[in-house]
Amino acid sequence: MRPPRSLRSLPPEGAHAADRQSGIRAWPWLSRLAEHRLFWPTCTLVLLLALNATFNAGFWQLQWRDGHLYGSLIDILNRAAPLAVVALGMTLVIATRGIDISVGAVVAIAGATAALLIGGTLVLKGGQQTYVSRTPMAVAIVAALAVAALCGLWNGLLVARVGMQPIIATLILMVAGRGIAQLITNGQIITVYYAPYFTIGNGFLLGLPFAVFIAAAVWVVLHLLMTRTALGLFIQAIGINPAAARLAGLPERLITVCVYVFCGFAAGVAGLIVSSNVKSADGNNAGLLLELDAILAVTLGGTLLTGGRFSLAGSVLGALIIQTLTSTIYSIGVPPEINLVVKAAVVFVVMLLQSAEFRASVRAWVQRRPLPGAPVR
């Protein structure tokens, strides 16, 4: 999981020679740095932050107010948290050559489940009016996560056992999922009144938003799982060469089901953060277009859609990039809907860069003609 690799995927030996000639060789540490897979995402993020700062005078300012840190940077971290969690789950699925376009619907379902179970009714307790939840909050959270994991299991079984293509299998839940979420909320937006629930999306811990800790926890747990168990190795092997993985005795089907279950689970976590943040559950709008953002975040982070080697840190960076992009567009004063056009441009650029044909075309335009006498091919 570690070998240096640039965002533009494994270049043939010749490309390094070209780099050397172009002068990067003057600073060997720079060229080695440039080969690191997180180099380009980090550069993009830094660029965006700088852009933001030039238009927004107080961008880097952090204040300590009401017992927690306050500032634009904190905002970005907070808003990026649910996307980061979903992107982390999506990373593993994409690494096994799959895809999950139902995560947005699962976010809605999980939020709806939690909101339904918690609700919040006004009662008189010891002379004071307080809100109590319908079911203990812990139970509600566990139930929401369980439902989300179940959705993931459904997807995983369709892909691994029935053999459907991932995009088709997850399309079904994407279509039906919003209907299921609406079913749970009974077509209305359920407002949650139970204060302790709000800490998930709005609370602070040690001055930083609680949601950031959740995302960090998911990241850490995943990282440990990938590096302390054989899962990371297995997932990559399956994504790079499924035939060789099968022959080597890897439990391919089991692992495939598990990554989809986790992706669903991650979407559930994000659903809790989102519904807690807005203090309600909206079956229609929660997590809308989230799957597309998640796929974009994973791709920006350096994981190829064709599977194989993945980068959890890259996906987190990708989520930060997308959130910073949104924030930058807002701070420049451009209407937020332009976000979509910019995202389209980013998607175009990234996929062109990842296309071997495109790189070959560019190389053909940029390089000199082959020497005469060389075999024509």
Partner: protein
């Protein structure tokens, strides 16, 4: 030695490709029949024609989507192109005072060019259709918002006239709109393209086995670009019909329509992997979607989101059957 018919004496003579479409027709008849029995007033010509009227734009988009899916690809941008079409039409007609006769050809050309651009990217750089049309979707919706964030109502005389036109059928017993007529015409054109032209047959070939199609010398690259171009045209035409239907331009029009189109195509018997399917099946897929919606609204006790669940369930059953169908093929 004569052929192989003797080797498979028990194989039924029904062409295996037709089975999924027959399934769709059966589902339609069953659901419509159920509705007719369960609710009075369901079994009237106008109710059935309303299925077509209310879903005319979906039907037109579905025809284009059928070809895309037949070729083994997918087009996620159709809803966004519809929205863009409504927005550009509204802007031209309301803010720049173009006539309907001038605006409509322009937006059709725009949608067609949009589709051609995506098709070119997919073919030239061997990109995945999912990603390219996803980016196209972002782009088209973004362009909508560039024109206007709020909706623009259309009060132009030409548009309102067309929107209110009713073409009588069966001597005043029922009537359809211009949109529904266009939908029927597009279905007919789609059928002709699919079965009567080389373009259509090449689409089927590409969906069946693209590598073989190349080896057989078929114009695979050109046909792929044309498929997405045609889908763009259908999206634009669907957008024009949608404009008549809503009489406004808005960036949030037709959100999620691509999913409905894909669902209609798949439920109508076209394999998502490509190569098998019929345009007429898509028509029935659209009608089934319409019937479900009508049934649920007739019922009154069921909420409208049950539509999504039922469509999801139908989609699941169709995909499952398709998978079994594929698995059993030698």
């Amino acid at each position: 030695m004569s052929g192989v018919a003797a080797a498979h004496p028990l194989r039924p003579r029904i062409d295996a490709r037709v089975v999924p479409v027959l399934g769709a027709v059966a589902v339609f008849i069953v659901t419509a029949g159920f509705g007719s029995v369960a609710y009075g007033g369901f079994f009237s010509p106008q109710v059935f024609l309303n299925l077509l009227i209310d879903n005319a734009f979906l039907c037109i988009v579905g025809v284009g989507m059928t070809f895309v899916i037949l070729s083994g690809g997918i087009d996620l941008s159709v809803g966004a192109v519809i929205a863009l079409t409504t927005m550009v039409s509204a802007a031209l007609v309301e803010q720049h005072h173009w006539s309907a006769a001038a605006a409509i050809p322009l937006v059709l050309a725009m949608g067609t060019a949009f589709g051609a651009f995506m098709g070119w990217l997919i073919t030239r750089f061997r990109l995945q259709p999912f990603i390219v049309t996803l980016a196209g979707m972002f782009l088209a919706r973004g362009l909508c918002y560039l024109i206007s964030i709020d909706s623009i109502s259309i009060t132009d005389a030409g548009y309102t006239a067309i929107a209110q036109t009713r073409i009588p059928l069966f001597g005043d017993a029922a009537s359809i709109t211009v949109g529904a007529l266009l939908a029927v015409v597009m279905v007919a054109i789609g059928i002709w393209l699919a079965h009567g032209t080389e373009f259509g047959r090449t689409v089927y070939a590409i969906g069946g086995n693209e590598a073989s199609a190349v080896l057989m010398g078929l114009p695979v690259g050109r046909t792929t670009v044309l498929v997405y171009t045609f889908s763009g045209l259908c999206s634009a035409l669907g957008g024009v019909v949608f404009t008549f239907y809503m009489l406004s331009g808005y960036g949030l029009h037709a959100v999620g329509l691509e999913l409905d189109a894909i669902a209609a195509v798949v439920i109508g018997g076209t394999l998502l992997t490509g190569g098998v399917g019929y345009v007429i099946g898509t028509l029935f897929g659209v009608l089934i979607l319409g019937v479900i919606q009508t049934l649920i609204s007739f019922d009154g006790s069921l909420s409208s989101w049950w539509t999504r669940i039922v469509i999801g369930a139908l989609l699941f059953v169709s995909c499952l059957l398709q998978r079994l169908f594929e698995a059993r093929r030698p």
